[in-house]
Symmetry: C2
Subunit: 226 residues, 2 copies
């Protein structure tokens, strides 16, 4: 990976655990937290894709609330507006995966430029990263909001290329989301898939260049190749 | 509904039961048919949306095969190329829902123009409709293939407007898929959602104009309003 000068990370599910909202859901609906979190996340993703296709972009926080409203009706759970907002706010306080802070520090020490490229709004990204004390780990926090379309549309990936001022072949894209890694690969980024849960990759005509089980493994991989 | 002059139907899940492939899957993988069918259908949909967003259209039959390949790996089932093709061919032999043939006949007798507007390729649509003996029920069989993008992109819905030569407000769009009914509604079609299974509608800022539990109920609704 000698040619890699910068890394763009996906946020949700890659650096931060989206299912850390499950405990908040479980306080509100005892015993249902994980189930709610699973349906909620799936619908949140679907709504970003569908709204992009329909050319009906709204910011990620609103998509998140709409997906939670669907989830509560689908699971037959009563949800008032206040609880909906309060649970959705849990997406602003996600926990980073355990190895992430150390791994980011090591990558920066090697002189790599780092960015987040996320479907989240600037406010969401800032809040999540700020609460985790990781603001200084990144050169750029990039939201798709200026282009008003969600990943895996090419216009989203272009934001990282422009921010770094590098050719896409010099930017490693890192995501736990197989569909996101697929989109990045089609765009032309060298791509690493973070597969923490022994999942299988998607079948859309692309494979990641590297597969790792965490960011610590990514640091080792970059060290070995560098 | 006096102003309705034509009806465009979604095919998969609306006129024809996508889960009629479960019995073929069950012959191949005993006891797993319904589970395979559920994952397969979900991934098939996701791949149509994601490929559209990535501008990487491939025909629906190929998406169907890719989705089945993912499904078999996800569920840990061995799937050779021949079995993959053979099971995917089950999507060419779907069963119509029981009330569909009579309902189509009644709608035509009232002078309405009828079309299918489907993500399926021309070959897939023709095969499904032909095997069910319903070819003569439709004035148009419309595939998204010429525009190389899947629903709910507006370019797909425009195909029905052009084929009928009518204003979109004169064309009733009928789908069991809430995301499809949402896209059609944003496009400007009056829209009926066929909800056979007591599902909840999606939360993407639209509601269907009508909700029915089958095509027989739609016939009654049109009769009552006409």
């Amino acid at each position: 990976m000698d040619h890699i000068k910068a890394i763009a990370f996906d946020l949700y599910g890659t650096l931060f655990d989206v299912h850390s909202v499950a405990s908040r859901c479980d306080e509100q609906f005892p015993g249902r937290g994980q189930e709610i979190s699973n349906v909620w996340r799936q619908k949140q993703l679907e709504y970003t894709w569908l709204r992009s296709l329909m050319n009906r972009y709204i910011p990620f926080e609103h998509v998140t609330e709409e997906a939670l409203r669907y989830t509560s009706r689908h699971l037959g759970l009563a949800l008032d507006d206040e609880t909906c907002r309060s649970l959705s706010d849990a997406y602003l306080h996600l926990q980073p995966f355990a190895e992430v802070p150390d791994a980011l520090r090591e990558l920066r020490q090697r002189g790599l430029k780092l960015a987040i490229l996320s479907n989240g709004s600037p406010h969401s990204i800032g809040a999540v990263v700020g609460h985790a004390g990781l603001r200084n780990s990144f050169d750029h926090l990039l939201s798709v909001d200026p282009v008003r379309v969600y990943k895996p549309d090419n216009r989203a990936y272009e934001l990282a290329e422009h921010a770094f001022g590098l050719n896409r072949t010099e930017i490693l894209f890192v995501s736990s989301n197989a569909w996101d890694a697929t989109g990045a690969r089609y765009f032309g980024f060298p791509t690493a898939w973070v597969n923490r849960g022994g999942k299988v990759f998607d079948e859309m005509g692309q494979k990641p260049d590297w597969e790792v089980n965490g960011l610590d493994a990514l640091v080792k991989l970059l060290g070995a190749a560098g």
